[in-house]
Symmetry: D2
Subunit: 319 residues, 4 copies
């Protein structure tokens, strides 16, 4: 192993830069040359590589987004695209690759590995829904960002005694909604993993009102239903007026929290160590409070789930 | 003057609590009894008064929203409603009122004054569009909140080389859009006060792309056009894909900045001083960098405008 | 189990309020009466109890400090003091106690348990140095606070090309210094667990300067040496000028992060569940990524250690 | 006017980068070549110039510190140093200079102007103590930073019922202490402009305690007395225990607020406009809520004062 490359792929997540920094610096520290690939798999196919030195990743540990840019590549999904990438990597004499991204990105990484290029995946996604790991880089920052936003919205909800429906990200997973709902003290939380019940939501609002809490927050995970649909249903069924806020892209950005910087630093270093040890076709994971690794194929078979006891915890203390 | 009351009305704004605190504490310091009116003019008509002591406004200077709650009252717009309020105030022997709010709230305050109750207005509105003053409590916090949000969105815009349209509040006034556009380095700013030009927006995007800046931010004041309409127009005319984010209510909340805490403290104290001096039918204003006051009627005749030189400043440095 | 009480003891930590809220609400949800004890063990001896309802812990999940106040009690260390507390608890018919605090607080809780009052400990300490658990409430917030402060200091260090020594909290443990040093990209980290070497620190400064990084940050855990001593040693040995910043109390306060709110909510609920199940003389712990509990006595035998691999990680990527 | 240069001098302040950006972009927009001078007057003497393009100041509007670095130069105070600077500027054919800094920096700028090089000053200093202007870039950010820190310290002060003395920056001026004291609700504020009285401080503490507020914050401007001296005096006179926190360098850094970004943008553009109009030997000022300019010599004669009514305002509402 003399030359390795690193890329970011899929949705960007805070902490990806900290992971790039860790890969680059650990690589150089261990005597490797490290190359950055721009624009994810698109750049990989095009041979858009750039050698990284220590200073190239200075002053980025605290920046959101990814300095290497990211993309979702359609072309790379074909064998032709993958072979093009292998050729580009071979031409540059790169003999190892670290891919920072989510499930989709790891499927691509697995293909490259099968085609002979040693590849390691590092999980990065605010949605924290990646199979094979309890944690994905970016989740901690995203939930902090969402709760900060809800805290501001609550000021207005309180002042005008409004009921606010806040739609948050998470794709098919409800963990962003669940954690932010718990930590913002939301009166109701709607997630894809649990069937919701309008009557129950209404009861919780009324229970609060009975003890003088006239405002209410409902957090909705985008994978369950849209905020606007909830609004309409509450209007139709109970003639209840609500305000909908869709937080959108601001959930993806921002300075990474310490937890994300640590996880990104640890995972990036660990990925380089694996490559140097001759390991390949693996993703880095975080399980039972420690770093681990597993085959991409094994990871794909696992299903990332949420801890339903957290859902019931919310019901007993957000009252 | 022995007993005064304070209420907040209209849209809530960060710093209103600091103003309430200043009114209550200054009043008590000067030997008055001070009453808080809950729910704005609705509470005034209902006699929903509560005596405030020093501790009742402790630990609120840094809280968004308003502890007195706010509302937009339809009933109070009628003479009947206003007379009901006067009766409630007389019954409680309250002989002075401070109204924290915007233009609409001041029209109500002016009516009460004409009906014999000495009234002073304190300008509070994130939109900073109140006639008769250069500054309204809440604006500084709101623009800081918006720019923080845009800073996060920019991380994602940069990473994916996207063009983002961000719709911000401000009602008929473009000052939130203008300031946040300048301070977030937005490539284009659309405000109600200046006719916008799609060609120009496109040129500015392309100018940036030519020098390698592949992402772009367009800030849109809600009073000019909606973000979604801008998106459609850019799609129709240039087949350009953009992402729209509507920031919504989170712009109204949050811990007030120091500027808002200072302005609120100064204005609240000044309002009480005016009442004690026997003044009435006035609003507190901030002009040429200092506190002033003017008759409600004179204020209504003025029109709050923005400084267009700031608009041209943006064009010359956000390139 | 019909009535339980909750107190906070020792140094305050962000998230303690979230834990109090969880204990109170979970208790009420499960049909218990819950009492808050003010001023830690001092208040316990004095019978300073107050019944808590759902609203009493509303709007506190996001507040630093502890609404119950805290204290370090000398009197309670004697058997006499402990018996006084038991009497006060018996008089109030309280039959279970949750103590939120650190090692010292748990020693007190263990005594009460031995004297017949079922007691459960919840670990709260920014220092994250409590035996028997991998995590203590408050650590995540504290490290985020410290890194935010260092990020600001770095602006000035960069601008004036200064070498800054930043002394952080942690008592005998270096984990605050270690994590913040890694996440702020500090060039050197001094912790009690590893012998430091002035030559090495100097070399790391010079290595950075050679590649153009003229400023440098040295993070020092208070348990290793004081910042001022490091300054003097660098002055004596290398005639090097440095600036010392002692962060002090601001590290203890602030809005708790999501991680701390979650851990506090989970641990508080878990503690109440244990009491209801008839368990006692236990502390709640977080091990291998999940909630657990262990006897106070067993916990005291364990020694909380840091992961030295993190120290070496810092050396390979902060260069 | 074809080529202009810009430098930052003296203590760094948040917003200096926004001012550099405004100077560079406005200059280029108006057809000038713009050069950045590194390391303040030291770099000026050494001819350490670098041409700036639009991208060179991209992504810096939100960064604390100064990308051009700053320094306090002893050598430049001599005529020899100044002539060396003139020679370097002439060699580079630079015919205009913008100096961003404080009083001391402007004295240097005035000398250069007298030696024939057109020079304009832009006031930048967190201390807001520069003669000839009501506002200096950096003050708004600094006071927000200080109050955020005090808000955290208050959590601990409240929880442990402590009296905290917080020493803040400001050199000979008390305005940082005054504004932060007002906005953090400090029970006492000690500033150089007003003789302080230990008895009065003690009375204010006791007055609060009587109404149940057991903690207290005393803000001390470094120009009046040190925090530790206040501590000793309170110990000696009243046997009162207090905790001292010296905030130090973290007050200088951090992301500039919107107010600082706006002022810096306006002032930077205005400075370039003045140079283009052929003006020289002037500083940009902010007076009565608008931009203005005045001769360095006239500015030096003015004395920057604080508004003492703010001091008395604090006494009437922080009770």
């Amino acid at each position: 192993m003399k030359k390795i490359a690193v890329l970011t792929s899929g949705g960007d997540a805070p902490g990806m830069n900290a992971a790039i920094r860790a890969v680059v610096r650990r690589g150089i520290y261990c005597g490797l040359e490290v190359y950055g690939v721009r624009h994810g798999y698109d750049g990989l196919m095009d041979g858009d590589f750039q050698q990284m030195d220590l200073g190239s990743v200075g002053d980025i540990i605290h920046r959101g987004g990814t300095i290497l840019r990211s993309a979702r590549s359609e072309a790379f999904k074909s064998l032709e695209g993958q072979e093009k990438a292998i050729t580009a990597l071979n031409n540059a004499k790169i003999d190892g690759l670290v891919v920072i991204g989510g499930d989709g990105s790891f499927r691509g990484a697995d293909k490259l590995n099968q085609l002979g290029l040693p590849t390691i995946g590092v999980p990065g996604s605010i949605d924290n829904d990646i199979s094979g790991t309890d944690y994905s880089i970016g989740f901690d920052t995203a939930v902090n960002t969402v709760v900060e936003a809800i805290d501001k919205i609550r000021d207005t909800a309180y002042s005008h005694e409004r009921i606010c429906i806040i739609e948050v990200m998470g794709r098919h997973a409800g963990i962003i909604a669940l954690w932010t709902g718990i930590c913002a003290g939301a009166e109701s939380i709607i997630i894809p993993e649990v069937q919701f019940d309008l009557e129950d939501i209404m009861e919780r609002i009324q229970f609060g009102q009975k003890r003088g809490k006239m405002h209410s927050i409902i957090v909705v995970g985008e994978g369950a239903i849209s905020g606007n649909e909830v609004k309409e249903k509450l209007k139709d069924k109970f003639n209840l007026d609500t305000n909908v806020i869709v937080l959108g892209y601001l959930q993806r950005g921002g300075t990474p929290t310490i937890y994300d910087r640590m996880m990104a630093s640890k995972m990036g270093v660990y990925a380089v160590n694996l490559l140097i040890e001759g390991k390949k076709g693996l993703m880095v994971g975080w399980k039972k409070g420690q770093l681990t690794h597993l085959n991409f194929q094994d990871a794909f078979k696992e299903k990332h789930t949420i801890d339903l006891s957290d859902y019931y915890l919310a019901r007993s203390i957000s009252i």
